[in-house]
């Protein structure tokens, strides 16, 4: 197992390096001069040149690339030319909000989606199943930002229960939670739809297995069959696909952050694009990619824990 973990981590490194190279290239081909973007269109040629020098933009591209990789390795994400703040500090201040939102949505999705999926599969073609199918289809079809707007309209404007915008004070649990409910719901419904659907189909697949029929035949009570034989086997795809959907959620969190004006990586990224703040943009893209690689790695490893048939040799 340990060997496999090391092997998997080592496997991720080349992909990460290519990802970093891609991000570096994308940011270099963005239209517009970062120095002009920082100083404004009316800045003098001398000041633009001075800033270009300071940002290292006059150096050959390969040297910029090596410096980029080098500073990333030491955790230095550079200084934003627009705000003058170190990007790492900005990222650290908003990252907990994005992670909290995503985690809340995943929790919400699994807590409600798994029981709903099970009941839909067990009572197949019943009213519950039909309701669940319509509900999860709606959940998959509604864009998270639109749901966010509807929730704001209902729960912040018509019935002012929750705050309209902002992320609240992160370390103040009450304030934080109040600001998390609506964004968490907007994103959580999407996750719930995914989880309900895959739980239903995973359970239906397992219900067809011979060992389930055997368990029934030898007189094991229904609930025990469901928990011991069906659910444990169905969990494998449910958890595995959960990792995949966590990646989708991280992407969708951008929209939720924007609708609710919540601090977060997504809001930072979109702000960076609009202000042409290339240092920040580059760093945020790197963080997103690292998050995805880590989630994929974690999903692979969790597989082994829940499925004893998988041997890491």
């Amino acid at each position: 197992m340990f060997k496999y973990v090391i092997h998997r981590i080592l496997q991720s490194i080349p992909i990460l390096i290519v990802v970093l190279t891609l991000v570096f290239m994308v940011v270099r081909v963005l239209p517009g001069d970062p120095a002009v973007a920082a100083l404004g269109d009316y800045a003098s040629e001398e000041s633009v040149q001075a800033l270009r020098e300071k940002l290292g933009l006059n150096e050959p591209i390969w040297l910029q690339y090596i410096k980029f990789l080098g500073s990333l390795a030491t955790g230095d994400l550079g200084v934003s030319a627009i705000t003058g703040y170190p990007v790492a500090k900005q990222v650290v201040s908003v990252l907990p909000y994005t992670l909290e939102l995503t985690f809340c949505a995943i929790l919400f999705g699994y807590l409600l989606g798994v029981p709903l999926g099970i009941s839909a599969a067990v009572h197949r073609n019943s009213f519950i199943d039909y309701f669940n199918r319509v509900f999860s289809l709606l959940g998959l079809s509604v864009p998270a930002f639109y749901l966010g707007i509807i929730l704001i309209l209902v729960f912040s404007i018509v019935f002012p229960i929750f705050p309209v915008v902002g992320g609240g004070e992160f370390w103040n649990p009450k304030d934080n939670l109040r600001h998390l409910v609506l964004p968490g719901l907007s994103l959580g419904l999407l996750m719930m739809a995914y989880v309900t659907r895959m739980t239903r189909s995973a359970i239906l697949d397992v219900l067809r297995e011979d060992y389930v029929r055997t368990a029934h035949a030898k007189g094991v009570i229904e609930r025990l069959v469901l928990y011991k034989h069906v659910l444990r086997n169905a969990l494998i795809p449910i958890v595995a696909l959960g990792g995949l959907y966590a990646v989708v959620l991280i992407g969708s969190s951008v929209m939720v952050e924007i609708v609710f004006s919540r601090p977060g990586l997504g809001k930072l990224m979109v702000g960076a694009i609009k202000q042409r703040d290339y240092t920040t943009l580059q760093s945020v893209m790197v963080i997103y990619a690292v998050l995805v690689v880590v989630i994929n790695l974690a999903t692979d490893l969790i597989y082994g824990f829940i499925d004893p048939r998988i041997k890491y040799d």
Binding site: Y146, I149, L153
Partner: protein, 297 residues
Amino acid sequence: MAEIREPVPVDGVMTIGISQKHRMWMAFRRNKTAMFGGIMAVIIVMVAIFAPVLSPYDPLAQDAVARLNPSSLAHWMGTDDFGRDVFSRIIWGSRVSLTIGILSVLAGLVGGTAMGMVAGYFGGKVETLIMRAVDVLMCFPDLILAIAVTAVLGSNLVNLIITIAIVMTPRFARLSHGQLLKIKESEYVVAAQAIGAKVPRIIVRHIFPNIFGELLVAGTLWVGVAIRLEANLAFIGLGVQPPTPTWGNMIQEGVDVLINAPGISIYSGLCILITILAFNTLGDGVRDMIDPRLRGE
């Protein structure tokens, strides 16, 4: 050995002697949800095509006197901040969403499938190169990749189609690659190789038709994903630029006047929801139709 299937009763009729296509169509017709999705999708496409005929007003015509009017007989969905008719703008907005949604998925399907099939068929270094490139692109969540590419290319209709096609390409590549690996060693492919068929012929005549079903299902479902991506980009301000109406930028405009005229955001969002719903149910239906194991369930 090819599996010999038992005749499947569809609509209570045994289907011996009925062609595969006809059988699929009967299965599709029986699936009410799929039919609903299909009919909705056709209606939405029709609305987009006949937008000039259907819209009661010019979507760009401003009227300073009729700003933020509520729903009325003259303006079914009210007017926006510039006094433009929301209903007409929604009808015209369907064009952008559908054009980008359908064309980007088609482009992604062609590009991604070609990449996936070439990688799977030839294996070796070609496969490593192509599939690792796909892995790299898949390291970015869809929207993040789309935002980055839009920032590079700029946001007009053609560039948005290219952007979303770039996001869709790795998905199709991975799908077609996986499917191809499944059937690569099957007898009919080996037989075609044995009688000396050329590689392009094997890929086009023997492999592609057998993985087309999966691609069609995914493509239909991913039209919904593409439409949502376009709406997301438009909402952020990176989509087709105003005053051209798109559902995404209409929601965005509506948010500014949410308290006074919630209808603008609500109606535009509903259109996105219904369109994605239509393609999702259609995709599900096509899957049930193609996969014989699900037929009749």
